[in-house]
Subunit: 283 residues, 2 copies
């Protein structure tokens, strides 16, 4: 679908896209943009680099797809830097974990019709190109979040492309995306972080808790090992939905606490059964 693809920011996500694109479209040329010489060296070793630059410049102009895989807050900044190098057909996508504020920031920029907000629903607590994987996005949802002025022809091409990369494209509104992702990604992240924080704050039992923590604690808190900058930016960008989800979680935990205090075991058991059943239908 695309002959020349640029990837701006070659970390876990950008790198995994590069690996996958080279595998599925061997003829496609990849132009990688990274400040870090060692990242570009590793990319060359991995045979995912056809050309490169340390920042966005004229060398990106002949690409037909540009993937912005930088931090959330950097995406509108990078889009502005792209403006002199875009022609009407160029498609620019991002892969940020929030969509509404990014799309709102892009909307007010001239050339917004070049942009389509996207979010591949896969990730890892590991970061960097060295942890990238050709299979990271296999069968995962690829959210595409057009708004009123989005060029729908570009969306159609992206759907095709995502399908060929073996992702499942899913069109949704930016706000709806953010509400959903707050519940299934941002909230679990803060819950995991809070579990680790309260362990750290229990000075009396800290040593024993560290020694005795086993696979349950490890898996439940795995996502708290994600990049803290990502977590803080997500909270800042998706504050409305994250705060709402945090309140929901607090209410559920309060309710468990009160039922346990009241020794209402039957009710606790009923809720736990319903929860187990709901989750069994998901994974």
């Amino acid at each position: 679908v695309f002959k020349r693809v640029a990837i701006v920011g070659v970390g876990l996500i950008g790198g995994s896209f590069a690996l996958r694109i080279k595998k599925k479209f061997p003829a496609a040329k990849l132009h990688l943009v990274s400040r870090k010489p060692e990242t570009l060296r590793l990319a060359k070793k991995l045979k995912i680099l056809d050309s490169s630059s340390h920042q966005i410049d004229q060398s990106i102009a002949n690409c037909d797809l540009i993937i912005l895989s930088t931090s959330i807050e950097d995406i509108p900044v990078k889009f502005k830097q792209l403006l002199p190098h875009l022609n009407p057909q160029t498609i620019v996508i991002d892969v940020g974990s929030t969509k509404e504020k990014i799309c709102d920031a892009i909307k007010v920029i001239d050339r917004q019709q070049n942009f389509v907000g996207c979010h591949p629903m896969a990730g890892s607590d590991k970061t960097g190109l060295s942890n990238a994987s050709v299979n990271l996005f296999e069968n995962s949802i690829f959210a595409i979040t057009p708004h009123l002025k989005t060029d729908m022809k570009k969306v159609t091409r992206l759907k095709q492309w995502a399908t060929q990369l073996r992702m499942q494209p899913l069109i949704m509104k930016p706000r709806s995306h953010d509400e959903v992702v707050a519940g299934i990604s941002h909230l679990p992240y803060f819950a995991a972080a809070a579990l680790v924080e309260v362990l750290g704050d229990d000075e009396k039992n800290l040593r024993l808790k560290k020694v005795m923590a086993s696979s349950g604690f490890r898996d439940t808190t795995r996502v708290s090992a994600s990049d803290p900058t990502w977590g803080a930016q997500v909270a800042n960008h998706n504050d409305r939905a994250v705060v709402l989800e945090l309140q929901r979680l607090i209410d559920s935990l309060e309710s468990f606490k009160n039922q346990i205090l009241k020794r209402n075991n039957a009710l606790v058991l009923m809720r736990l059964k319903k929860i187990k059943k709901l989750r069994a239908g998901m994974f």
Copy 2:
């Protein structure tokens, strides 16, 4: 160390002990007690059964170690059923996830000197003998919780035995065990359950949340698939510590919520960095 071992309750934990004992002590004889004929048939197939019965009876009398791996609330009941069949040397252990109330219930029973409270720190959300694994306890902590009247010679033998099974014995007070396990096992369970519950309660976004949930949500909520009866009994038995830990988690989440509302990003980022660092020192 033990020539004849009885296992009362042959589920995931009892079955994993049986597999491990047969591997590490091929000469040891195993006597399995299970109500379910199909469990005893599977045990025979797995070559972990030398003799069996459907309930505790005279056939258990010549065992030198008896492992009670039933549900938490059944442990004192089963211990009472054992009384006519014990001699002073017999060691009875349990493997329940809480210790203080179990040990308190045993303390008032004659023959309490036969009993030593134990808890292997490994498990799974899967249940039943069919999910048992010979490696489940490999390198895991084996908590032993003696109280004032416990026969310390029996504790010494159990430490030896656990070490030979390649577990790490750890002597601690029942109450201390319960406080620690509340934080590293019971709290993560309720946090995971609450994450699933609030997803289920969001009717507006439920369908999309189910479709888009990925590895992060899956891993963070894995333990919510555990047996609900276990969860309810744990909450009931370890109520004091579980309520305390729930409150700590609620306070941490409230604090994140308020910092996000106040746009105090620097503070959120600082906490997330500290959390990532603490967890990196654990796993």
